[in-house]
Amino acid sequence: MSENLLEVKNLKTYFFTDGGVVKSVDDVSFNVKPGKTLGVVGESGCGKSITSLSIMQLVETPPGKIVDGEIIYNGENLLGKDKDEMRKIRGGEIAMIFQEPMTSLNPVFTVGQQIMEALMIHTDMDKTKAKERAIEMLKLVRIPLAEKRFNEYPHQLSGGMRQRVMIAMALSCNPKLLICDEPTTALDVTIQAQILDLINELKEKLGTSIMMITHDLGVIAEVADDVMVMYAGKIVEYGTADQIFETPMHPYTHGLMNCIPKLNDDNETRLHVIPGMVPSPDRMPKGCAFCPRCSEAKKICEEKMPELIEIDGQKVRCFKYTSEWEEAK
């Protein structure tokens, strides 16, 4: 047994398309500690969702494929498991909630049926027990009139309620790890806060580890213990939440921080943006992927990809912190 619940080592998930190989997740390593929250930040298309789907082995194959790496959960490599063993881990050990609560629940089954299904797969509960437990879970995620909601269909619930149902379903079998893929992105701001509070509270209560995937640093600030910043399939910065927020090192992390509007800015200040877009996979620059958008880029950045280096426990992938930087023009 190691001290980490989940250790991902050198994970590479590539997509083999007609247009060539897309390295969606390229040599990513990180750990999730028991009872802690790891935040994964990045813009759309940076590989954070594919990372989480790789852990669950739900990447669509073909075209996607985990080509290399290890996913060590509780000391066992998940990539060595067969289909049936993996199926028991999904939902039972590692559960997942998704970005779109509106479409993530099956419209033709009741909320209750869907929660009970998970319970009956992973526990030996009979129908009556599973129903009791499902209603208990609905109450736990603070759904009012849980007994009535149990018999309702997803379309009868609001987005926030549906995300609560998703959380209830995911946590019903007491998983040790909960992967949240942008759980609040599709919700109203007020509901977002409620859902985050709920996730935090349940984490404390049930001792579940959480991997929180988001593009919103505000969400990270609220929940994360550790933070991993991803860009174009690679980790660009990785450290504790305190380190990332107090001493962000990578220019991309700086950029993300600056993008959060501040109330005390005067009205004249325009909203800050990072210029440009994430490079498309077929036009990945030779050097650092962020280089075309980086205000500090030097020639060396265009030429080769910097390594992920560790400085005082904080990891960063940028030439700024290497000896080569001073010599470079």
Binding site: R90, G91, N106, P107, V108, F109, E117, A118, Y153, H155
Partner: protein, 310 residues
């Protein structure tokens, strides 16, 4: 729900009224006189007049139609001009034959179509998908009478496994059911594949997988129920076609079903027989469509009928 069904049935009356009126007008507009055809041109004027009177054809057209409606509400369509058989009896007799053929072809088409469609969807892009879709294309495009003849020659004559015509026992129905069901199986397979592919990429399928549901159940439970609406729509219409008889298949296999009855009625300008079959065909489609519409509500809880419309 009940008020919705009643409303739909009320519409049916209007549909039947319209469709019989059109049949009536058409048969009176197109050239050809049933009496002359019956009497084979040898009869004299007096005989023709006598027969006309017996058949109720000497009264003005509107009155003829009203007489027909009066009979039809009592399920009495009169007697066939030719065979003198009561039309209602002829319909019941033919229906008993057609319904057996329809039931067998329907089961054949659904089992084969759904299975192939789902396998093709699950293994999309693999060789089995291409194979099944090619076969379904052949099934859809090959004329049913051609399939019927091939089956008769190969299975009936060469291999001598099954009877090639008649309608004595269940064995007689196997070849015609396959011949009739093949094209329907093909189209069911195609729509099942399309509909399943659409559903399989939905978020809730990923959710089902993420909670550890067996892949077989992901497909059979989570995906299939969501994919059912377009399939049921098609299957319903096809059941309608099967129940209203296939003229070609019945001809090839010498089966005296509804299809044969309709053809007889048309060839002989046998208005009572034709009106009877037309009413029957219209009724079948109205009922099948109603059943299909009601089944939507059971498949998808988001569809509810009644209270203030749909």
């Amino acid at each position: 729900m009940l008020s919705y069904i009643l409303k739909r049935l009320a519409q049916t009356v209007l549909v039947l009224f319209g469709i019989t009126l059109i049949t009536f007008i058409l048969l009176n507009v197109v050239p050809g006189d049933p009496v002359a055809m019956m009497l084979d041109k040898r009869a004299d004027e007096a005989t023709i007049e006598k027969v006309r009177h017996e058949m109720g054809l000497d009264v003005p057209l509107p009155e003829q139609y009203i007489n027909f409606v009066k009979g039809a509400v009592r399920l009495d369509f009169g007697k066939s001009y030719f065979t003198k058989e009561n039309v209602m009896d002829a319909l019941v007799r033919s229906f008993k034959v057609t319904v057996k053929l329809a039931a067998m072809s329907f089961i054949f088409a659904c089992v084969i179509g759904l299975t192939c469609g789902m396998i093709a969807a699950v293994y999309r892009g693999k060789w089995i998908d291409s194979l099944l879709m090619t076969l379904s294309m052949v099934g859809v495009s090959a004329p049913s009478f051609w399939i019927a003849i091939i089956l008769q020659i190969v299975i009936g004559l060469k291999l001598d496994l099954l009877p090639i015509s008649g309608f004595d026992g269940p064995l007689n129905y196997i070849l015609p059911s396959i011949a009739l069901g093949t094209r329907y199986a093909g189209s069911i397979a195609r729509i099942t594949r399309t509909s399943m592919l659409d559903v399989i990429k939905q978020d809730y399928i990923r959710t089902a997988r993420s909670k550890g549901v067996k892949e077989f159940l992901v497909i059979m439970k989570h995906a299939l129920k969501n994919a059912m609406i377009p399939i049921v729509t098609l299957v319903g219409t096809e059941l309608g076609y099967m129940l209203t008889g296939s003229m070609l298949i019945e001809k090839v296999f010498a089966i005296p079903g509804i299809g044969k009855l309709a053809v007889d009625g048309m060839m002989n300008r046998d208005l009572p027989l034709l009106q009877g079959t037309v009413v029957y065909i219209a009724l079948v489609f109205v009922i099948v469509n109603l059943v299909v519409d009601i089944s939507y509500a059971f498949i998808d809880p988001r569809i509810r009928y009644g209270k203030g419309g749909e």
